[in-house]
């Protein structure tokens, strides 16, 4: 291959590029990124960056020397609009057409939004610019924040807002936060974390609409002009919540719109095998956009690790390796570090191994009916968690 184009310049795209180089690829490497920023780390955006403990400079995923060593052509602030596999051409928003031999799809995911007119004061949180805009609004004295969605992003944002001294309400449509991820018992633990810290948690109700407060303010997206500012949130059960700032954290969808009609198979992500290889020759997918072997992970660790495997497969022209690591993620909220590894099924039961939710420090294992462990969860127990995670990985290996 003479040219490989990596579409998406975040964690997965960067690590695909690093892996291509470390695997010996010395041809042209093109990095396309919609954002103007060089690759940066997203997890702190809802935490240390939002509270002001970390600056943007500290989020960089590669320093100047590493960028130079990568020897890539960076096309930032531009989007890929289309991919034509037969002619091996990538089209950019500005009309440019790039010829390429290999393609790494790493376009990630975009936050879901609520229907209705855009209102100032309503935020999603995915990019550095998103986080900077939200941080700015949180820096003008105490405000009333409504967080819609009590998933990990919502919980972390609520925690950061509470740390900053704001009045915070979290609205969750399900009966408990993180119910599908953690099950009822541990979901109750997560609900308690909110209320422990003076955050109001409203569950079992969705949001019907966001309403303006009647004032107008400068558009938050920098596009000029004015837009109405959010004033209150109308819940599905008829209640209304006054709001100065609204953060919508209701999940993401894979950024695949631009691939419609390209011949790349799409099904809640780019369909690929466990090695990131798509059925289209010369095209691999990594990170949040990839639906690998029927599963689309939205985890930082797989976005960092799987690209190494996909890069090898791309260079080999076929799947010579698969990525089989246990799913793993962590979340920092209200001073608690949660870590979860494995794949919990809905029917699994949870058993405390040490500590207790009441102490806000524990290790728990999820098990099937027959006692087979499927996942481990820890709160502020990093070392026991590491041991349990390794044991789980070994058990999984033995079971294969």
């Amino acid at each position: 291959m003479n040219t490989i184009t990596v579409i998406g310049a975040s964690l997965a795209g960067l690590h695909a590029a690093l892996a291509l180089r470390s695997e010996g690829y010395d041809g042209r490497l093109v990095m396309i990124g919609e954002e103007h920023h060089r690759p940066y780390d997203r997890p702190p955006l809802s935490k240390e960056f939002l509270t002001g403990a970390l600056t943007a400079e500290r989020l960089s995923l590669a320093d100047a020397e590493e960028i130079a060593e990568l020897d890539a052509d960076w096309l930032l602030g531009t989007r890929a609009e289309g991919l034509d596999p037969p002619s091996r051409t990538v089209t950019l928003t500005d009309g440019r057409r790039l010829s390429t031999d290999g393609v790494v799809l790493a376009t990630g995911a975009v936050p879901r939004t609520l229907p209705g007119e855009p209102l100032a004061g309503v935020h999603t949180l995915r990019t550095l610019d998103d986080a900077a805009a939200l941080r700015e609004e949180l820096s003008r004295g105490q405000v009333r924040v409504v967080v819609i969605g009590a998933g990990f992003i919502g919980a972390e944002v609520a925690s950061s807002c509470a740390t900053l001294g704001h009045s915070v309400t979290v609205v969750e449509a399900a009966a408990q936060p993180l119910l599908p991820q953690l099950g009822a018992r541990m979901a109750a633990f997560c609900a308690d974390l909110h209320t422990d810290h003076g955050v109001t948690l409203l569950t079992g109700t969705g949001v019907r609409a966001l309403h303006p407060d009647g004032r107008r303010s400068a558009r938050g997206d920098g596009a000029g002009g004015e837009q109405q500012r959010v004033g209150w949130v109308e819940l599905a059960d008829g209640r209304s919540l006054p709001a100065d700032v609204v953060v919508v954290g209701i999940g993401v969808r894979p950024a695949t719109d631009w691939l419609e009609g390209s011949g790349i198979p799409l099904d809640d992500g780019v369909v690929c095998d466990a090695g990131g290889v798509t059925p289209v020759p010369g095209v691999v997918a990594v990170g949040d956009v990839a639906r690998a072997a029927g599963h689309r992970a939205e985890h930082w660790t797989s976005a960092m690790e799987a690209p190494t495997v996909a890069a090898r497969n791309l260079l080999a022209g076929t799947t010579v390796e698969t990525y089989t690591a246990l799913p793993y993620f962590w979340s920092d909220q209200y001073g608690i570090r949660l870590q979860l590894a494995g794949s919990r099924a809905g029917a699994d039961t949870v058993r405390l191994v040490e500590g207790s939710p009441e102490d806000r420090s524990f290790l728990a294992v999820y098990e099937r009916d027959d006692g087979t462990p499927t996942a481990v969860l820890a709160a502020n127990r990093p070392r026991p968690f590491m041991r349990a995670r390794r044991e789980l990985a070994r058990a999984g290996m033995a079971a294969v």
């Binding site: 240390e48 320093d63 100047a64 020397e65 960092m304 570090r337």
Partner: protein, 118 residues
Amino acid sequence: MIPVCRIEDLPAGESVRLDLEPPIAVFNADGELYAIDDTCTHQDASLSEGWLEGCLVECPLHAASFDLRTGRPTCLPARKAVRTHPVSVLDGTVWVHIESAQPAQTSHTAAAGQGSAA
């Protein structure tokens, strides 16, 4: 020199965290004692809580791995080294000799001067 603990309180495979500024982790790696800055250079996590295997410690948060002998990261996501500190045992007590507040050794000179622990 700062006293850490009695040698018998730091058996092989164990670690001790010293709550200094910045915190320091002391490890017993199969009988050899090592001290490094405790905070992973990648993100805020305590290496004393990490997984010890030979002379390598794996960060409990993102599995970055550091060589206790040099402080250098052996794999991503960490890219900067942690500082190392000499350790000695006198009359059964483990002591750590804190290196002055020099910037951490970095794997790349361009990043020098960014400070030590993240």
